[in-house]
């Protein structure tokens, strides 16, 4: 089983839509996938029509006796299950801080999922917190959406520095998100990013179909599979899969 955190400290860069669409792409590719929504906003849960008011959502992370595999809910899509967020996650940092060894506890939770899933995709809150720190210390890779803008790229440096300092060998996989080819700055900065060998080469376009996920409440590929954005997420997933295998 592989675990990937989708994380950045800047909001509004397409983090949750990436988590949902990539989890859907992985599931369609034959990976038994769990999307774990750790963001108290619960947007990933919203996109997949999963109620974000699960009892034990916090305990699934903090308490040894609660098995997250048993709480996972099937989504409308084959091979894709979900652990939804809960509004109580706004206190998750405190709850996690109260456990003895948060990282060890969370690592055990992830390990317990290996019998049921081939991939766990974690949608992390867009902040530096104990939750993100714990996740980053545990997962195999951290996927970072980057808009070709100065601020967003600055954020990537912060994320990298954080993972280097706290991570335990997690690979940082940045990718270009919400790229608007009509903007000269996007094209120029995008090219500059891709010169960095760590960057995944598939760029996710800024597309209205992605924005409309709030209305369709489904991954793009489930409603409009031939749209460029849907194809880009599938291609990005294939690239991630290859990177994880090495």
């Amino acid at each position: 089983m592989k675990s990937i955190a989708v994380w950045t400290v800047k909001g509004g860069v397409g983090k949750t839509s990436a988590a949902v669409n990539l989890a859907h792409a992985a599931a369609a590719d034959g990976c038994r996938t769990l999307l774990w929504d750790l963001d108290p906003q619960g947007a990933a849960s919203f996109y997949l029509r999963i109620p974000s008011d699960m009892d034990d959502a916090v305990e699934a992370i903090t308490r040894r006796s609660v098995d997250p595999a048993k709480l996972a809910l099937p989504t409308e899509f084959d091979n894709l299950s979900m652990l939804p967020a809960d509004f109580a996650f706004r206190h998750l940092d405190l709850a996690l801080g109260a456990t003895k060894k948060p990282r060890k506890r969370f690592a055990a939770k992830l390990a317990g999922l290996a019998d049921h899933f081939d991939l766990v995709m974690l949608d992390c809150p867009p902040s530096v917190s104990l939750v993100s720190e714990t996740v980053v210390k545990t997962v195999d890779a951290v996927l970072v959406p980057v808009i070709p803008s100065t601020l967003s790229m600055r954020t990537l440096h912060q994320v990298r520095a954080f993972v280097t300092e706290h991570g335990r060998g997690a690979e940082v996989l940045p990718f270009l998100s919400m790229v608007d080819r009509r903007k000269r700055m996007h094209n120029e900065l995008g090219l500059a990013c891709l010169a960095d060998p760590a960057f995944l080469t598939t760029a996710i376009p800024a597309a209205s179909v992605v924005e409309k996920m709030g209305i369709t409440r489904a991954p793009v590929a489930a409603t409009l599979p031939s749209q460029p954005a849907a194809r880009a997420f599938a291609a990005l997933w294939r690239e991630i899969r290859v990177r994880l295998e090495h």
């Binding site: 034959g30 990976c31 038994r32 029509r49 109620p51 099937p74 989504t75 409308e76 084959d78 081939d118």
Partner: protein
């Protein structure tokens, strides 16, 4: 997931009626397609609690159903036959090892009309995932049987409440029983393990008839798969049933009149001879990866001409087996044998009316004594012929233990089989090496006589023969130790205890 049988007049509105006005049922457009359930002929997936479904819809999918888990689904280009054909990932990991060398065959089929749906609350959140299916089982010719309506309900807070709706009856998650029945099969109806339930006081002739009928049924069950060349186990099981039949006829002499069984024994011998060469070549091909490992990596390519030679010999051997199994002679053998077993006059052989337990005790004890006699006093370097004879002796005892398995306490007889198996594995391995070395020299001669064969290829075959000889020597040594254990006092006593017979001196 829970699956329910729906009454014919089921009203979908009843699904939300009990939940409250704020809940709604949303369904997508339906689709119609054929599904084929696949398993190995001996139900290896079913026995592990798995059902593999191939959905032949607009996009082909393979779906693995496992109780207590979410179904696993993957798009597939072509129907997998062997474990190597399975798509990488979960399917290969989960069912590849179970399948081993067996191929997948259709065990059920249906025409399905499917509609996906969900129940939503006022916030548009899914409180249950639904799947409506109308299923028509298809027989082997593709003719549809009576349709049933099913509903899958999974995930979400409303699942339990929906299950209580009047009219819904819980049913199996996968319809395997019904779909297999439409093709004349039932889950678990075949196993290569021989098991017949006998009564302790049953007269010998009726018990032996049951054994022989079961063997005949096994033999016949494997004809189609052998002819279609689905996997090598069909021929293997067919041959084992044939050998067991012959062994029963010779070892249980006197139960049936000789003049009735003797002609059939000759015909079963013919069948053994007919199928032997093909089995040898199958074994060779199955061993090929092992042979590759026995020669250095750089010489691996040298084995290709050998493999090609074996493959073409195998295809000729298969042709003659197919011809034989389709011949009037084979047909006469199986129909005649079944008729004879159905009609044979009761109590017509000298031992016919003795109890089967008495006969079993005696034969087991005699076969056991025979092994001890032939194996006793051998030094560290027993001649190949002696080991060959012992292998046959051991096989005879093994068959008896399997025939009469139900007459003895399971734990005890299983323990004796295990002890016997230990020396059988060694003797079998020794014999295989002997046979393979002989065949290897024959192949080498054949290759040498043919055009364009590299010297390095012949040298590699020599190297391989040497490796087989080394392995054979190891087994010779191992036999000495294993036999010492087999003839030790506790094991002898245990055999004596089992059959109540007299102990070998």
């Amino acid at each position: 997931m829970s699956r329910y049988l729906l009454p014919t007049d089921f009203d979908e509105a009843s699904l939300t009626a009990g939940l409250g006005a704020e809940y709604g049922l949303v369904t997508a457009a339906g689709s119609e397609f054929t599904v084929v359930l696949r398993d190995t002929f001996d139900w290896r997936l079913y026995r592990a609690g798995l059902v593999l479904v191939e959905e032949l819809g607009r996009d082909r999918r393979l779906v693995l159903k496992e109780s207590g888990r979410e179904p696993y689904s993957i798009a597939g280009q072509s129907t997998p036959r062997t474990a190597e054909d399975l798509p990488a990932g979960h399917l290969t990991e989960r069912i590849g090892p179970l399948m081993g060398i067996r191929a997948l065959v259709p065990v059920g089929a249906a025409r399905i009309r499917r509609r996906e749906g969900r129940i939503e609350n006022a916030n548009g959140e899914m409180v249950a995932r639904l799947r409506f299916e109308t299923i028509e089982p298809l027989d082997r010719d593709g003719n549809p049987g009576p349709a049933t309506d099913k509903l899958d309900i999974r995930g979400g807070e409303a699942t339990a409440e929906l299950g209580r709706i009047p009219g819904l009856t819980t049913c199996s998650e996968h319809d395997l029983d019904v779909l297999a029945a439409a093709r004349g099969r039932s889950p678990g109806d075949y196993s290569s393990k021989f098991r017949v339930g006998l009564d302790l006081s049953q007269p010998a002739d009726s018990a032996v008839r049951e054994i022989l009928l079961a063997l005949l049924t096994t033999l016949e069950a494997n004809v189609e798969g052998t002819v279609a060349d689905i996997d090598t186990e069909f021929l293997h099981d067919l041959r084992v049933a044939c050998r067991r039949t012959r062994s029963a006829l010779t070892q249980l002499k006197g139960v049936f009149p000789d003049e009735i069984t003797a002609p059939f024994n000759t015909e079963f011998k013919w069948l053994g001879g007919l199928t032997g060469p093909l089995r040898d070549l199958d074994v060779y091909l199955l061993e090929m990866p092992g042979y590759r490992a026995l020669v250095p990596a750089h010489a691996s390519a040298d084995l290709e001409p050998l493999e090609e030679l074996i493959r073409s010999a195998r295809s000729r051997a298969l042709t003659s087996v197919v011809r034989g199994l389709r011949s009037a002679r084979f047909d006469r053998l199986v129909t005649g044998w079944r008729q004879t077993l159905d009609e044979v006059v009761p109590s017509s052989g000298p031992h016919a009316s003795r109890s089967i337990l008495e006969v079993a005790d005696k034969r087991i004890s005699r076969a056991h004594r025979r092994i001890l006699k032939h194996g006793r006093g051998l030094d560290h370097d027993p001649p190949a012929e002696t080991l060959h004879r012992l292998r046959i002796d051991a096989k005879k005892l093994r068959y008896l233990l399997e025939f009469f398995h139900s007459l003895y306490p399971a734990a005890e007889i299983n323990a004796r089989i295990k002890e016997l198996k230990r020396i059988q594995d060694i003797l079998g391995g020794f014999n295989d090496m002997e046979v393979q070395r002989d065949r290897l020299s024959a192949f080498a001669r054949e290759l040498h006589a043919g055009p364009d064969v590299e010297t390095s290829c012949i040298l590699t075959l020599g190297r391989l023969a040497g490796a087989l000889e080394d392995r054979q020597e190891e087994l010779r040594t191992a036999f000495h130790e294993a036999f010492a254990r087999f003839e030790s006092e506790p094991v002898r006593a245990a055999f004596k205890n089992l059959s109540g017979g007299k102990e070998s001196k």
